[in-house]
């Protein structure tokens, strides 16, 4: 009879880790309990039970996935979404403002002004997505509206939504870019001739000043809009490794498959989602310091890569940031350092 009880023990242990408590109790555990009774009869009967168990576990996982995906959009989550929407709109306006600030509207015709402004807002909508994801996860977690196990599915759904928004706005952005391009004065170039009339010379200076912007616009119109990428393959590996290192210690599920999720989904949006998780674990000044640590660490890493320092310098940047946070805290250094290296922020 002892053999009967041990049958399916590993299966029960695995299922308990990957399913919700209620799903395990009501759906998976009864099937395993019956398997353990079957084992008392014969191996043949027990063997017939395993395919059924796998089917039950698959259905249980799909049911949990559905619950995980719908959890952040429940009726009680409205306050979190209101706060997220406020943050997101503020980010959209900021990014759109930054794009307009770097656009020579005064050198464009009426159609060009309209299209450039509209394009700036569409760019803002897309560019604000990562921060919107951070805000959403932060507010959902802070208000305890999201179970830890639902983070992966939630962030994955945000990634899908953000990617769809990005792809859906591509034709609009391309069309607006073409309209702006048609409105750009051909004089805007590095080779703008300096007029003889000294009163007109400032125009040529202005044309030369915006030559880089025109070249960038031309490239976008000719080559299409592409996803931003780090400068070199080594850089990509370094960034991904850093993102992965961020993902592991956060422990959003509390089980080892957190690592599998982290490895499977390394697009930058995942990182922003995990930032939201990490930030939500503190209050007040702790949140501010943690955000500063994460941002400094990532910006430092990106700068190191973009300026061609390569992976060794990138690692130095990470370590320096981590050391700074290590000495900030009051815990023994050997307890803080691993987390600080991984997250770029104090515990």
């Amino acid at each position: 009879m002892a053999g009967a009880a041990t049958s399916g023990r590993w299966f029960a242990s695995f299922a308990r880790r990957v399913t919700r408590d209620s799903t395990f109790t009501l759906l998976v555990a009864p099937a395993i309990a019956d398997l353990q009774r079957e084992a008392a009869h014969s191996w043949r009967r027990q063997g017939r039970h395993y395919p059924g168990l796998i089917l039950v576990l698959t259905i249980a996982l799909l049911r949990d996935l559905r619950l995980d995906l719908t959890e952040p959009f429940g009726t009680n989550t409205a306050p979190a979404w209101t706060a997220t929407a406020t943050w997101y709109l503020a980010c959209v306006v900021t990014f759109a403002g930054a794009v307009i600030w770097t656009t020579p509207l005064h050198l464009l015709g009426t159609a060009g002004k309209l299209s450039a402004t509209a394009s700036a807002f569409v760019v803002g909508l897309v560019a604000a997505m990562p921060l919107g994801v951070t805000a959403a996860v932060f507010h959902l977690r802070r208000r305890e509206l999201l179970r830890p196990r639902a983070f992966a599915a939630t962030i994955a759904s945000f990634i899908v939504i953000a990617t769809l928004v990005h792809v859906a706005t591509l034709p609009v952005r391309s069309s607006l870019n073409r309209t702006t391009y048609a409105s750009v004065s051909p004089e805007i170039s590095r080779e703008a001739v300096l007029p003889d009339d000294p009163r007109q010379q400032y125009l040529a200076v202005e044309w030369r000043k915006w030559a880089g912007w025109r070249e960038s616009l031309t490239s976008t119109v000719m080559n299409g809009i592409t996803f931003p990428r780090p400068a070199d393959p080594v850089g990509i590996v370094a960034v991904e490794a850093h993102f992965l290192a961020n993902a592991l210690p956060v422990g959003f599920t509390g089980t080892t498959y957190a690592a599998i999720y982290a490895m499977a989904m390394t697009p930058p949006l995942l990182v922003f989602g995990l930032f939201g998780v990490a930030l939500s674990r503190g209050r007040g000044l702790t949140v501010l310091l943690r955000a500063l640590g994460l941002v400094t660490s990532c910006v430092g890493l990106q700068l190191a890569i973009l300026t061609g320092f390569g992976v060794s310098h990138s690692l130095v940047v990470m370590l320096v940031t981590a050391m700074a946070w290590t000495f900030y805290d009051k815990l023994p250094w050997w307890r803080r350092l691993p987390t600080c290296v991984a997250t770029g922020s104090p515990r």
Binding site: A2, A4, A5, T6, A12, L26, L27, V28, A29, P30, A31, I32, A33, D34, Q36, R37, E38, R48, H49, P51, G52, L53, L55, V56, I59
Partner: protein, 105 residues
């Protein structure tokens, strides 16, 4: 002011069969499979029972076991009064729909 439409409970053929089998008394999943003589499958019985519990057709409890027993406790299922009523209505509807127009008078 229009009245809110009443949501009719739905019951599948498998659910009706389980209620018939549970009418004899409290049973666990494997017993139901054995009693169904091949009509219920191991892969679907637990999912169906879970769904029926959420619909209110059955209730379940963990079996009582002696102290020190190893392994997971089995889950025992029992049909509710509501489940029986829905089942009776289902049988009436099934019989009515099976009638030919001439037999209905």
């Amino acid at each position: 002011m229009t009245e809110k439409p009443i949501r009719m409970p739905s019951i599948s053929g498998t659910e009706a069969l389980i209620i018939e089998l549970l009418d004899a008394g409290e049973r666990f999943g494997l017993e139901l499979i054995d009693a169904s003589e091949g009509r219920l499958k191991r892969g679907t019985i637990y999912v169906t029972l879970s769904r029926m519990e959420s619909k209110g057709f059955v209730v379940s409890r963990q079996e009582e076991r002696p102290a020190g027993a190893i392994g997971l406790p089995r889950r025992m299922y029992r049909v509710t009064g509501y489940g029986l009523k829905v089942h009776q209505a289902y049988l009436l509807l099934r019989d009515a729909l099976a009638l030919k127009p001439a037999e209905a008078h």
